[in-house]
């Protein structure tokens, strides 16, 4: 399955003889050498002898078309001779004028346009989010006042997937957080003979900050992304349109069950993270000669129910935020698989940023 091109000077003109099967796999060197011949002889007529061409696929046809369409002087035109009639019919089916303009690439706006678009997009996102929160509030109020508006089966399924299936990873992260904080703090505190106060620090940090925060970050990466991808795919598949055209609310069907499930499971996951985190810290403290009972007594002196309760309230707010952002990004998905990917990324990034901001607000107002 080979092809070749040979060049001969014939009188005033140049003769290019093409041979064999010109296909996508064999055309590249022929095409290059033919164009080089044309460039070397700008003033001479070129005759392309195609009598020995056994076969030409689409690329071969494109090669012949390309040679014919070259802009050359009237006395130096390219002429294709003895091309098989079936191949000639394919070449003649195209008008070389259709390909004179450079191919249009994807539309890429300039830097100022990009900045402008991004700014408008962010403002639009804020208004979309405000609309979304409003719609959710209205739907939630209706759901709470009328029976049958919330599919509790869906809520349970989502809570199982987002909560129960997320327990192992939350336990692992919580345990490791407790171990790491206790160990690092213990090393420093030992220099000052204040190892026992590591328990205060670990308890305070885990219950108020790190327990809910780490759980929320895991939840955002695992479940917030899944919410955006699921709803985004439903949007692309026009399932959301189908719900709307039935006169139903996508918020009621798709969003509320996820919001309720998230508010339920993130605090529960946080409790798990708190408990295993403290257990991990207690294990580490054994190496600093602080026994379990001493750890427990010190912990009770250091933290209050308020600290634990605050962490749980934070977790519920984080869960609500993550679910809301995931669902909103899903519903705002454009067309195509790429949009689903963008929505998912945006959901995770936005959720984590919002979680940190909300955590900061909590820290300032709950000292």
């Amino acid at each position: 399955m080979t092809a070749s091109a040979t060049e001969q000077i014939a009188g005033d003109g140049v003769r290019i003889e093409l041979r064999g099967r010109i296909t996508a796999y064999t055309a590249a060197p022929l095409w290059r050498s033919a164009l080089e011949t044309l460039a070397r002889h700008p003033g001479r007529p070129i005759i392309v002898d195609a009598s020995q061409v056994e076969y030409a696929d689409n690329v071969g046809i494109a090669l012949l078309l390309d040679l014919m369409r070259r802009d050359r002087a009237a006395t130096a035109k390219v002429e294709i001779r003895d091309l098989a009639s079936n191949l000639a019919a394919l070449v003649q089916a195209f008008d070389s004028k259709d390909f004179t303009a450079a191919p249009r690439g994807r539309l890429s706006p300039g830097i100022f346009e990009q900045v402008g678009r991004a700014t408008v997009q962010h403002f639009r996102y804020v208004t979309q989010m405000a609309d979304f929160v409003g719609e959710c509030w209205v739907e939630l109020r209706q759901a709470l006042t009328r029976r049958g508006r919330i599919n509790w089966g869906d809520v349970l399924d989502i809570a199982t997937e987002a909560g129960a299936n997320g327990v192992p990873v939350v336990l692992l992260i919580g345990f490791l957080m407790g171990v790491i904080i206790a160990f690092q703090s213990g090393l420093v505190a030992r220099q000052f003979g204040a190892v026992i106060f590591v328990v205060n620090g670990v308890g305070f940090a885990l219950l108020r900050e790190l327990g809910p925060l780490m759980t929320a970050i895991v939840f955002a990466g695992r479940t917030g992304a899944a919410f955006a991808a699921q709803i985004g795919t439903q949007k692309v598949n026009e399932e959301v349109n189908a719900i709307t055209t039935f006169g139903l609310s996508p918020i009621q069907f798709l969003v509320l069950p996820r919001l309720i499930a998230a508010v339920m499971v993130v605090p529960l996951l946080t409790v798990f993270a708190d408990v295993v985190g403290l257990f991990g810290a207690a294990l580490v403290m054994l190496t600093f000669d602080i026994g379990f009972v001493q750890f427990y007594n010190q912990l009770l002196q250091a933290v209050t129910a308020w600290d634990f309760g605050l962490g749980i309230v934070k977790a519920a707010v984080f869960g609500l935020t993550i679910a809301a952002v995931g669902c909103q990004r899903g519903l705002a998905t454009g067309a195509g698989a790429t949009s689903v990917g963008l929505s998912t990324t945006s959901a995770v990034v936005t959720s984590i940023v919002l979680i940190i901001v909300i955590d900061g607000i909590f820290s300032v107002f709950t000292v």
């Binding site: 095409w31 696929d57 689409n58 690329v59 494109a62 191919p103």
Partner: protein
């Protein structure tokens, strides 16, 4: 199965192996068998359409031929070489010789239409960028999509996605093209143009086509031979020239299909 004698397609010979040979194929998903003991050949240069009601396994049969799904039993030969028994490398090589258009077009969402059509050329040839662009634009012109070369797939309608998918399937100049419902969702003019493109490619390049379609007009225009699957008996119930099958088949399911008769009308007629 009822077989109506037909003329072999252009380029059909007895010396070279058929483009596609399906031998005693049993295919399905897990416990669910869609087709049993199916055997047929597609000769070089022939246009064969695969017909059948929804759920009869037309698209699955195509995916078995392509080597995407493994049959439960039986063999599929591409130009005499088994794609079922082939090792991964040989299977890839065989697959590269097949141009495929999937039902939804299956364009890559992150590439423009032109880049999608150019993609196989980028991957498997040493052509210069300008040459690849010209080939890709020519193929887009062939399916009347020249105006959409800079658009992203997300901006295309279903029919446009299909046409761009066909252009991409043609890019590497494969001898065998498998098209899954190419004219579904196209307007009549574009559909008719597409039929003419298929006929022209067969006539001028001798390409072999396996086309899954329901479009009767298209079937009668392009097909040398039709193979009809039945979801109930899970078998090939008819094979032959579509015109002959319509005129001469004694199987009521075949007549019903080709004459577009609803179930109720058949029941009434039979009672």
């Amino acid at each position: 199965m009822q077989t109506i004698p037909m003329q072999a397609g252009v380029g059909a010979t007895t010396e070279v192996p058929p483009a596609i040979s399906v031998r005693n194929l049993r295919m399905g998903y897990g416990e669910r068998v869609l087709l049993e003991n199916a055997s047929f050949d597609v000769q070089r240069g022939e246009i064969v359409v695969i017909l059948g009601g929804s759920g009869s396994g037309k698209s699955s049969l195509m995916k078995n031929i392509i080597g995407l799904y493994e049959p439960i039993a039986g063999d599929i030969l591409i130009a005499g070489r088994s794609i079922v028994k082939a090792r991964a490398r040989e299977r890839n090589e065989l697959q590269r010789g097949l141009g495929v258009m999937y039902q939804s077009g299956a364009l890559f969402g992150s590439l423009t239409v032109l880049e999608n059509v150019r993609f196989p050329l980028d991957q498997f040839t040493d052509l210069a960028l300008a040459d690849k662009n010209l080939t890709a634009r020519m193929l887009l012109q062939l399916v009347a999509m020249g105006y959409a070369e800079s658009l992203m797939p997300a901006e295309l309608s279903g029919g446009m996605l299909k046409r761009a998918g066909i252009a991409r399937a043609l890019a590497l100049g494969c001898d065998i093209l498998l098209l899954d419902e190419p004219s579904a969702g196209l307007d009549p003019i574009t559909g008719a143009n597409l039929d003419q493109t298929i006929l022209s490619l067969r006539k001028n390049l001798g390409l072999t086509f396996v086309v899954v379609t329901h479009e009767l007009q298209s079937i009668f225009t392009i097909a040398d031979r039709a193979i009809m699957l039945d979801p109930v008996s899970r078998s090939i119930i008819a094979e032959g020239n579509p015109g002959d099958l319509r005129a001469r088949s004694t199987d009521h399911r075949v007549r019903q299909f080709f004459n577009r008769v609803p179930d109720m009308a058949t029941d009434t007629a039979e009672s």
